[in-house]
């Protein structure tokens, strides 16, 4: 059963996901001007960059929630897309299992759904909470349910928009581990937006850095360590973290944090 499912995902997405000269603007604000990007299947692509540079817009374009002004997104036709939002977005009137069931009702027959819910809840450590409603769960538990929802849905593309942003360090690192376990069993193409350097080097196979809007790709770094072998403090990862940092915070910034032109990083 499991093998067949993975085959299905693989056939869903054999070629790259490509953005071809994509333009996007919100009124006056030009978010993307002729953006070209390639995402290879089977890896986690981390996107970093200043606030407001269009990272969420990129995910919305890939998910088909937002059409580009011009240009095209190729390789997503017929694909199922999983999305992990910044906030959990659970239905407050449905229990944990009800929320998981919602997204796979159309996909699997009843008995299969039960099994899948059982095993995913086991993996995220929420088996005893299956009948709880979201308001009775902590923020970290809600985001775990949301993580379970993103993985129980057989999406061949997985989009993550700073899903761990609101959580404390300890919780964040344990969820990084949960993510890693879940992802290794499915290996979907994943686009992961984050501001957190540790998340980036622990999870990213490829780390892409955006400039301010209109966003250009200013850096692209490959992770030399395999997903299974990454841990915080490993020298290659510290090295990588430093490189990413240098891309994100340019060294030639004037003293006073760039206030000379009265613009803060992230201002539009």
């Amino acid at each position: 059963m499991r093998e067949r499912k993975e085959d299905q995902r693989a056939t869903d997405l054999r070629q790259d996901l490509r953005l071809r000269s994509v333009d996007l603007s919100y009124g006056e604000l030009r978010v993307f001007e002729g953006l070209d990007m390639n995402f290879s299947p089977g890896s986690v692509h981390v996107i970093m960059g200043p606030s407001g540079c269009g990272k969420t817009s990129l995910l919305q374009l890939i998910a088909g929630l937002l059409p580009p002004d011009t240009g095209s997104i190729e390789g997503t036709a017929g694909c199922r897309v999983s999305y992990l939002f910044q906030e959990p977005r659970l239905l407050p009137w449905m229990s944990v299992e009800g929320n998981l069931d919602l997204v796979i009702r159309k996909v699997y027959p009843h008995e299969v759904r039960r099994e899948k819910i059982d095993s995913i809840l086991e993996l995220v450590g929420l088996s005893e909470f299956r009948r709880y409603y979201p308001h009775a769960l902590s923020g970290g538990m809600k985001q775990r349910v949301s993580l379970a929802r993103a993985f129980i849905y057989p999406g061949s593309i997985l989009l993550m928009d700073e899903p761990l942003k609101a959580l404390d360090l300890d919780l964040r690192l344990s969820l990084v581990d949960v993510f890693r376990r879940l992802w290794l069993s499915a290996r979907q193409l994943c686009v992961f937006v984050t501001h957190d350097l540790q998340e980036a080097v622990l999870l990213g196979d490829v780390i892409t850095i955006f400039s301010r809007a209109p966003a250009r790709v200013t850096g692209r770094l490959e992770n030399p360590v395999k997903m299974q072998e990454r841990y915080l403090g490993r020298s290659e990862l510290l090295e990588l973290e430093k490189k990413v940092y240098e891309y994100l915070v340019p060294a030639n910034r004037p003293p006073g944090g760039g206030a000379a032109d009265n613009r803060f990083p992230g201002d539009r």
Binding site: A63, L65, R80, V81, S82, Y83, F85, E87, R89, L91, P92, W93, M94, L102, V103, R105, K106, Y133, H135, R149, Y153
Partner: protein, 265 residues
Amino acid sequence: MTGFTTGLKSSLYTLIGAAVLFAVWKFAAFLIGAEILLPAPERVAAALFDLVTASDFRRAVGATVIRGISGFSLSAVLGLFVGVVCGLSPVVLRIFRPLLAVIRSTPVMSVIILALIWFSTDSVPVFVSFLTAFPIITGNVIEGVGRTDSRLLEMARVFQVSPRDILIRIHLPSLFPYFLAGMRTALGITWKVVVAAEVLSQPDQAVGTGLQIARMQLETADVFAWTAVAVLLSFVTEFLFEHLTSRASWLNPDKQSMRQVRRDA
């Protein structure tokens, strides 16, 4: 302060309020000294007792209750349906908006008079209560559909949840508090318009008919007694409604938003 003493204190104040009301009434009746204008409370109480013990009282109240409940239920069901369709489709909303606006602003008396021309005496109150409750419930449901969390809808879109599941599992639960608030408001005026319609249409068995007969016979104490019956009817149904709907609160664990809705309505 414990909940018990707080409750005791607030019901004490309610008792004081009621006592003042009766005292003023009694004093006014004494001053006026004409029972045909303002009968004393004990005269009304006696009239009420006679009324309640009379053989056809139960049938009259029963018939009025059935009329009110039919009109109200009809508008709840249709209001939910039309409200959902209008809420989901801007085109249908534009089509229905003038109709709803006209119904909402039509004087109750015009509706009653037209109903008298069009329908049999028994169904006039049903029609009138339906027509007054319908736009209120529909309006609330439309509002509820509009207030559905767009982030949940976006989530459902990404995960390709079927339109049927989006309706049943996202729209309906989130508009439910608005639907309840609409029904609560509508229930408050249902008995008023039902009795008004009965006064004019004069069905055989009706609270409104009793009221009208009492007026024609210049039995002011009876007018007061029938009025008391209508007031009690309203109290009882509102109490039952609160009781029944508080059990449905599992549909919306967020009670805070429910209170908010009630205040808005």
